[in-house]
């Protein structure tokens, strides 16, 4: 016969975002506990509400599996004296194992006979073993812990009760002053404390006390209730999964309801209304069939439908007050001009060590124009970019963004349009923050993309300039995310940009226009290149590029991020080619020999054809020259193909030519030839890193 074990940890309300991961953690720890303790089990289910974390184990064995174990004791010569009597050593050993000398057998190991015991460890009853679940409770870890009362113990929230039942029997243990038992708590207001007769009754008993302990069921109830409201009113609703999960973890017994607000607030931008409803009140907003936002909302009460009118009118009142506030800011903000706001940015700090927002904008104006020209924006686009970069942070000092910081950029776009800015300028203001997460949307407009790049390059360069370089998990200004945004935007736009060249150009530009504000933008070019390379590695990793190709591409001498994407792609494709292995071997043979030449990176290399001794040398020389001339005009992929196609000539060259000859002049001439070729190879990648089979 198998058994059911139930354990519920009763807590004060946990933060909504903690509930699901903690439930999963509890399952994992319980499974580990059961495995380590040799208790076989079938199904493990888990339940959670804001006030409880529960695990239920079904088909649990009545006792631990027995163990037969061979234990080695002393060597035979130590265990017995000359007369064959058991020595103290042998007697002590068997006593320690709770067996007798009669149980001793001898076995040979590495030519020596030893005392052995076939030990049998009978399984303990599950009820005894499960008292160890106390440690599962105390071992749980959370993102924030707290102390309470005068306990030294820390937990996510104070613990109030623990249920631990094996079928109908309490598994006794104690955490702090709380003894495990069979008593659980119902809904705070609708239910009462109640004793569980047996573990398997858990869900039903709690449901009788207005607690839906299964989060999947709560979610299904909420979804059905919302759909009912939506259908009855012919609305549409978008069930944001994050909000839905949060709401599921804010209630024990859900009842969805809808409320209204005054239609006059719809004059404000949708984003303002949505932020007030969704982020501040955890409401779902609704639209009509045509997608227009409606003056209604849906929320979920932690309770039943009794006195729902009170709840609705209370929530309507709260939302009205919030919207009233927002409308106040919306009206007030429009009384000032963009120029007023920009002037106020002079006293807004970007960072204490770096300077003000206004100073940052002065730098970004220059950087954006340089970038815009580099990526080929039209004259009109450059004009829009200039205007956008002069004002793009202005909304930070508006009342609305002060009150709703999450609307930065969004309000900038709205207010810019209201003040007659061109749509492209307004859009760029909003888009410069993008992407806001590793997989967030990218700017749709070119002007927005360039402004986003310029703003991010400036942030990274200025934090590096004051020595605030992210390390380990410490990246308070999300510079890694911004750098990754740069990588994604460049890839999305297929824009060519060499990080080191651009950083150098930027430093000179800022210097020339005297907007460095005493920071040295030129001194961190290599660390920034490394920082960007690491983000490239992340990008390649996300796109399943083989790591040897990633190493090869990052190990090359190519600075242009776009060319790195291309190089990775062409190497990935060419790998399928039948002659790939031979081609790479020929090219890496060149790299190995060129390495012996020890030419400096900047050294001018030229080959003297007069020193050639065979046709193979001449042929390679001419072919390489052609590739070399074509390289700047060609894509990385074309260059790689051209290099790959040199294989027969390289093979013929090595067939006919001894490179490391005694004649110094000839040797140097040949090494020079190979070094020139190696430099060309390195513009694609460091092919030495490739694994070819």
């Amino acid at each position: 016969m198998t058994h059911t074990f139930l354990m519920e940890i009763g807590l004060e309300e946990m933060p909504a975002h903690v509930v699901t991961p903690s439930r999963q953690q509890l399952v994992k720890r319980t499974q580990e506990f059961l495995q380590q303790n040799r208790l076989s089990y079938g199904k493990v289910s888990s339940f959670s509400t804001p006030r409880r974390l529960t695990v239920m184990v079904e088909e649990l064995a009545a006792k631990q599996t027995d163990v037969k174990k061979e234990v080695r004791g002393p060597a035979k010569k130590i265990a017995q004296d000359a007369d064959g009597n058991w020595t103290k050593a042998a007697q002590g050993f068997v006593r320690g194992q709770k067996m007798t000398t009669d149980d001793i057998i001898f076995k040979e190991q590495k030519g020596e006979e030893y005392v052995f015991l076939d030990k049998f460890i009978p399984g303990e009853p599950a009820k005894e073993v499960l008292t160890g679940m106390k440690d599962v409770i105390t071992a749980m870890t959370f993102s924030t812990n707290m102390h309470w009362g005068d306990h030294d113990f820390e937990y996510i929230r104070p613990i109030h009760w623990i249920v631990a039942l094996l079928d109908q029997v309490i598994v006794p243990f104690q955490v702090l002053d709380i003894k495990s038992g069979r008593k659980t708590q119902g809904h705070r207001f609708l239910g009462k404390a109640i004793e569980l007769h047996q573990a398997s009754d858990y869900l039903t008993v709690l449901e009788g006390q207005f607690v839906i302990a299964d989060p999947a069921k709560r979610q299904a109830m909420i979804e059905a209730q919302i759909q009912k409201l939506v259908k009855a009113n012919k609305w549409t609703v978008e069930l944001d999964p994050d909000l839905l999960e949060e709401v599921v973890n804010l209630v024990e017994y859900p009842t969805a309801f809808s409320g209204t607000f005054a239609a006059k607030y719809l004059n404000m931008p949708d984003e303002v209304l949505i932020t007030s409803m969704k982020d501040h009140q955890r409401y779902f907003y609704v639209r009509d069939q045509a997608g227009k936002l409606l003056p209604n909302f849906i929320s979920v009460r932690n309770g039943n439908a009794e006195h729902l009118d009170n709840v609705i009118s209370g929530n309507e009142k709260v939302l009205a007050a919030r919207l009233e506030d927002a409308e106040f800011f919306y009206t007030e903000d429009q009384k000032q001009t963009i120029a007023d706001y920009v002037a106020r940015l002079k006293s807004v700090s970007f960072h204490d060590k770096i300077g003000t927002m206004y100073e940052k904008m002065q730098r970004v104006q220059l950087i954006a124009q340089a970038l815009g020209e580099k990526v080929g924006l039209t004259a009109d686009e450059l004009t829009d970019l200039q205007r956008a970069s002069e004002i793009y942070k202005f909304d930070l000092v508006t009342g609305m963004v002060g009150e709703f910081p999450e609307l930065q950029g969004v309000m900038g776009e709205k207010y810019a349009l209201l003040q007659g800015e061109r749509p492209a300028v307004a859009q760029a203001i909003r888009e410069h923050y993008l992407p806001i997460s590793a997989d967030g949307v990218l700017p749709e407009s070119k002007v927005g993309a360039v402004l986003a790049l310029a703003d991010k390059f400036d942030s990274i360069s200025s934090f590096f300039a004051v020595g605030m370089i992210p390390n380990g998990s410490n990246d308070p200004y999300a510079l890694r995310r911004q750098a990754f945004g740069i990588v994604r935007i460049l890839h999305d736009r297929q824009w060519h940009l060499s990080v080191t060249n651009f950083e150098q150009q930027m430093a000179q530009l800022l210097e020339k226009h005297q907007v460095t504000f005493n920071l040295d933008y030129g001194k961190n070019i290599q660390p920034i290149k490394q920082f960007m390379d690491d983000r490239m590695r992340q990008w390649f990793g996300n796109h399943q590029v083989n790591y040897d190709i990633v190493d090869a591409v990052l190990g090359g001498h190519n600075n242009d991020l776009m060319a790195m994407f291309d190089a990775a792609q062409v190497l990935g494709e060419q790998r399928q080619d039948t002659n790939f292995k031979e081609s790479i071997e020929a090219l890496t043979r060149v790299l190995r020999l060129a390495d012996k030449a020890n030419f400096g990176d900047q050294e001018t290399l030229s080959v003297d054809p007069a020193l050639f001794e065979n046709d193979a040398e001449k042929n390679l020389y001419e072919a390489v020259k052609k590739v070399q001339e074509a390289t700047p005009k060609h894509s990385v992929a074309e260059n790689f193909v051209a290099l790959r196609d040199l294989r027969p000539l390289i093979e013929a060259y090595f067939e006919a030519t001894m490179v490391m000859v005694d004649d110094e002049k000839i040797r140097k001439n040949r090494l020079t030839q190979l070094a020139i070729l190696a430099r060309l190879i390195f513009t694609v990648a460091n092919l030495n890193e490739l694994i070819v089979k």
Binding site: E12, M146, W148, G149, D150, N315, A321, E324
Partner: protein, 301 residues
């Protein structure tokens, strides 16, 4: 709502209720401050091993929140009802919910939730874990288990409940503007506070003498530091409160740049930390008298 309590009845109800739970009824502390937490009856008493149970109304001044008496919900000065209990009782949430019942708020007729909100007051070196309590979607109280006060890890832990009196009263009396609330005997909140709201807003935003305030801040800071050195904890603490309020006035006036802001806050924090340590030392010298009394009380029972 069965009964529409006016504000003074609300306060009386809360006082009676918490007094029955063993809280001493203290009076508002007579130095300007931004929140009930900054009263020495919370800030200082939350530090150290001695038990402490107190409840009081605290008028709280936030110059930057002034709206000339024109905004129905925002005030230069609002009132908090503050309850602190140390060590935090195991049933503190139930005690709180019963206090709402005492005010005539039946949880079954409303939606009451504890929504995570970890509280922090960096200028006083304070941090805690807890919730805001939502009543039908409106935040009516802040519920905090103090973890750090004046930069010191605290044990035992103090539980703090802060009721926003105007908010709660607006709900109970069902009015849309705080100025329409009845304070007592038919007199409206607006009759008492509308003019002061206007004047304080005008003063804070337009008329305050910045040079004087800047000088005062320095003088108060010097005095606070000197008195910490002299071991005069309570006078020192009063001057720290004055620094804090003076800073708030400067801030409302826009006289403090973002960069300077951080500097001022850290000056206040340093003093708050020093006075917290001095307070523990002082109580220790006295032999933590409330701790002794507590033990004696328990032995008698």
């Amino acid at each position: 709502m069965d009964q529409k309590l006016n504000i003074q009845d609300m306060i009386l109800t809360l006082q009676r209720y918490w007094s029955k739970q063993g809280c001493m009824l203290m009076e508002a502390y007579d130095t300007e401050k931004g929140a009930g937490t900054m009263s020495p009856y919370t800030f200082l008493r939350a530090i150290g091993p001695e038990p402490w149970n107190a409840a009081y109304v605290e008028p709280s001044r936030r110059p930057a929140d002034g709206r000339y008496g024109e905004n129905p919900n925002r005030l230069y000065q609002h009132h908090q009802f503050q309850v602190v209990m140390k060590p935090s009782p195991a049933n503190i949430q139930e005690l709180y919910l019963d206090s709402l019942r005492a005010l005539g708020i039946d949880p079954l007729a409303h939606d009451i939730r504890f929504v995570e909100d970890n509280w922090e007051n960096p200028s006083m070196g304070c941090a805690g874990v807890g919730w805001e309590v939502w009543l039908d979607g409106m935040e009516v109280s802040q519920f905090t288990y103090f973890q750090v006060v004046g930069g010191l890890n605290v044990r035992p832990v103090t539980s703090e409940i802060t009721y926003g009196i105007e908010r709660l009263a607006s709900y109970i009396q069902d009015v849309n503007s705080v100025f329409d609330l009845e304070w007592g005997d038919g007199v409206k909140y607006g009759d008492i506070f509308k003019e002061p709201e206007f004047e304080h807003s005008k003063y804070s935003f337009e008329e305050s003498n910045q040079d004087m305030l800047l000088q005062l801040f320095d003088m108060y800071e010097n005095e606070a530091k000197k008195q910490i050195d002299n071991g005069l904890v309570h006078p020192a603490y009063d001057y720290i409160l004055k620094c804090s309020h003076t800073f708030n006035l400067l801030d409302a006036r826009g006289a403090v740049s973002v960069t300077e802001r951080a500097g001022y806050l850290s000056r206040i924090r340093n003093m708050a930390r020093a006075v917290a340590r001095a307070f523990v030392a002082e109580r220790e010298k006295l032999g933590f008298p409330l701790l002794k009394q507590d033990t004696e009380k328990k032995e008698e029972n």
